[in-house]
């Protein structure tokens, strides 16, 4: 953990691409020492079984055909199609640490994109607010990552965030199964959100939800009474934190619990991300999540067709 780059330092870098490459590089250095080897799910090559290998990876079909023990070493990732869905509503422009949630979120998106690109996966990007704005389909070809970066340069100016309409339009475009990573703050009424998510899941998409929150939103450590202005609606309310903080935290906690529970109910991977958290850590957790998922029945569900 100590080797991870502090997000505040990372955000000093102007180039989004550089940030992403830095994080991924750091992550891969750490990965070499870890028992995880990425989350590619496709077969690559065989090798002779030797004593001590995990018998789970024995290819029983080949054994039946040839009577020889072979182990499946890798599965090629070019078949994975990942679509990143990024919230660009105005609430994402809040930040208390010198950079906004959006800055952090798009860095996270770029990092995930670069990581997947290095894994030879196809990555696409869609931005949404109250509608679907940008849509870059998932591809794996030279220059595609640069296109993603350009799409990420758009500032967060959407007046609100709702998921049903963007997902509806996304589903029209996602013809093949793959993975959908939703990066949003989920600081809006949840009506319809999880219906949309369940629609994605129903279409066979593997969904991971990242809820990006600023520490100030979680802790609400304001000391001075002030007029609080809603970034999306522009509404102003006089709030004295000494009297409002406790109630805020309680209501927020309920909301967050609601989000987590809904994800869990849908069987969607959920990860809450604080903007002061190192991105490597987030990436690492995502990889670990995928590894766990492979060991879970859902992987078997998918694997049943292989």
């Amino acid at each position: 953990m100590a080797d991870y780059i502090d997000p505040a330092t990372l955000m000093q870098l102007q180039s989004l691409e550089m940030r992403a490459k830095h994080v991924v590089e750091g992550f891969q250095t750490g990965l070499n020492r870890s028992p995880f080897h990425g989350f590619s799910v496709e077969f690559t090559e065989y090798r002779q079984y030797t004593q001590g290998d995990d018998p789970r990876y024995l290819d029983w079909r080949l054994f039946a055909r040839t009577d020889r023990d072979y182990i499946k070493r890798f599965e090629d990732e070019t078949n994975l199609r990942c679509q990143i869905l990024l919230d660009v509503s105005r609430s994402m422009s809040f930040g208390s640490r010198g950079y906004s949630k959006f800055e952090y979120a798009r860095t996270l998106a770029a990092t995930l994109g670069w990581f997947l690109t290095t894994q030879r996966d196809a990555v696409g990007l869609a931005t949404f607010g109250d509608d679907l704005y940008e849509f870059v389909p998932a591809r794996f070809r030279p220059g595609h990552f640069r296109r993603l970066m350009v799409a990420l340069e758009q500032p967060p100016e959407a007046r609100g965030s709702r998921l049903n309409r963007p997902v509806e339009r996304l589903c029209e475009r996602l013809l093949r199964r793959g993975m959908v990573m939703v990066i949003a703050d989920f600081l809006a009424p949840l009506d319809g959100w999880f219906d949309s998510l369940s629609a994605l899941v129903a279409r066979g998409q593997d969904v991971i939800v990242f809820q990006v929150l600023d520490p100030a939103e979680i802790d609400f450590q304001f000391s001075d009474a002030a007029l609080f202005e809603d970034l999306e609606t522009g509404r102003q309310v006089y709030v004295d934190p000494r009297f409002a903080a406790e109630r805020y935290r309680k209501r927020l906690e309920e909301h967050l619990a609601n989000v987590a529970e809904s994800c869990s109910r849908l069987g969607v991977d959920f990860r809450r991300v604080r903007t002061d958290e190192p991105l490597e850590q987030v990436l690492f957790d995502v990889v670990r999540l995928r590894m766990h998922r492979k060991a879970m029945p859902r992987v078997a569900q998918r694997g049943g067709r292989r």
């Binding site: 009424p189 939103e217 009474a225 202005e229 809603d230 102003q236 006089y238 409002a244 805020y248 909301h255």
Partner: protein, 690 residues
Amino acid sequence: MSFLAPLFLVGAAAIAGPILFHLWRRTPRGRQVFSTLMFLVPSPPRMTNRSRLEHLPLLLLRGLLLLLLVLAFSRPFFRTEDWDRIAEQPLPRVAILVDRSASMRRDGVWDHAREEILDRMSASPAGTRFGIFAFADDWSSLASFDECRDLSPSTVRELTGSRLAEMSPTWQGTRLGLGVARTIAALQEEETRDVAERPQELWIVSDLAEGADFGGLENIEWPAGLRVVVVAAEAKNPGNAGLQPVADITETAADVVRVRVQNSSDSRVEEFTIDWEDVASDDPVRVVVPAGQSRVVAIPRAEAAEGGTVLRLTGDSEPFDNVAWVPRVERPRRLVAYLGEEAADDPQGLRFFLEGALSVSSLFDVRFAGPNDPLDTQRPSLIVIPSGASIPGWVTESIKRGSVGLIVLTQTDGAADLLARLGLTGAEVAEAPEQDQRWAEIDFESPWLAPFAEARYSDFTGIRFWKHRSVKLPEGWSGTILTRFENRDPAWFVQPVGMGRLHVMASGWQPSDSQLARSSKFPPLMMRLLEDAAGISAGGRQKNVGDRLWDPPPQPAPEAIAVPKDSLVKLPDGEESAGYRPLADVPGIYQLTIDGEPRLVAVNVPPDETRTSPMDLERLVTLGVPVGEATSTASRAREAERLTQARREDLEREQKIWWWLILAAAGCLLLEAAYAHWLTRRRRDAEAAA
């Protein structure tokens, strides 16, 4: 604690700054953008927060820091005992002496003097002791030190202002010497009463006319440390010309009046006219008098009105001395009785010289009566009795009623009897053995010899008395010895008898006895005796303001007196009349009625008052007057202030309190910074922990 720069204390108001800032921090004027308001509950603004101070220790530290800085900049110091001694340095005692002489009547002078006095009083340091006095021919107190002692400075100033406004200059001369001497006496008297040792000042507020009488200034013993400030009161118009009758009683009989026109040296005009006022006369007399000079002009006498007439000078802008009062010509008859037997034309006798001396009098129409001449109804004014003469019965009675008897002891035979018969009993008369005596002791104070008091007239040593009679006066004799011979024998003595007087001369004036009759002093001596009998003092009918109207008192006493307008002279009642010698206070004609006969005295402005050109202050210095600079009180106050300030700076420099205050302020600043840092860190920690 005192401050060298107390104005910096105003900076303490800056403490309001931190207090306000600590209050303002709580007002909801901040704006905070936030991602969503969906979890926030609006809180009503709490106005009570405005009056609540936040971070009280921090505020106290900041306030203290400011206060220490302000104190350091105002450079405080503590007064020591030494300081108290300096601070309580006594304030001066000032005697103000105002000139009220006639020359102060010039246009604007009195007003200027009054303004100068009031201005200087205002400029004097509070606590100055004042005494205000005035002088002209005499001296008076307007507001004594006693009167002013317990009054506030403003009240003293008001009192002085009102007293000066009530009065105006007199018509008198300027006896500066007398005024200063009396004021210094008043200062010294106050000095003995006042416990505090004070510097003393004398302000002479005057027009500084050169005609002022400095007599007596040279004899004044000036108190040590006294400073004399001469404050000049200036006239609006420079220059002045005046008119005075030439006081010459021998001229009065002539058909002209001789007047002197005097023009001051700073005058700008030199052509004047003189004319009678209210009397038909010929054309006015024109006279040209250059500045600084004087001319005597003979004016043909006009028909006099009752009392007297007025000559007026025109062409001069200052009118106070442009009038000369001229009494009507009158030569009352006087009878002189001589009781000796010798013939009137005997040059060896007394009568020859007596008649010769008195017949030329322009004042009186003198007639003489011998022992055998019938006396009219008129009583003789002067009765001359040589020893050995027979005395008629009326003589004693006449003397008692006011006549002057003069016994001349030409021989010893019957002299004692003669004296005894006329009221001087017990005297012994003998022929003196000493020959060739002179008058050695002369009482010039007496009214009969006072006209000879001036040095140029007082030399009687040239008059030799070949023979004289030695008179031994009885014990307890009540009279006055006017002159004595060298052997101390009385030469001339006088004794009152009833309303009259009896003079006795121990030697005759005829050539066989002495050179007196041939002396130029003989006629005035005899005239003086005749005047005494007529009730007119020396100086005759022409006097100046400030002179005594009569001295000695006329015998018999005046029955009535008519005085000019504004004069306060009046006849006294009863017993006081004997010593009553009133001063002429206003120019004009004074008319006495004595024994049914009118006596006129013309009183004019003193001629020296016309000399109004400014005096040379060097003259005062040569007379020993310790003249200081004109603005000495103001400069003394400035000097005292400068010394006090220097002392304060010294004390402040020695004590160096500001240094400790700055040190404390620095400490305070460190504390404040540390505390503020701690507060910030605590908040950050709390935020980080959250």
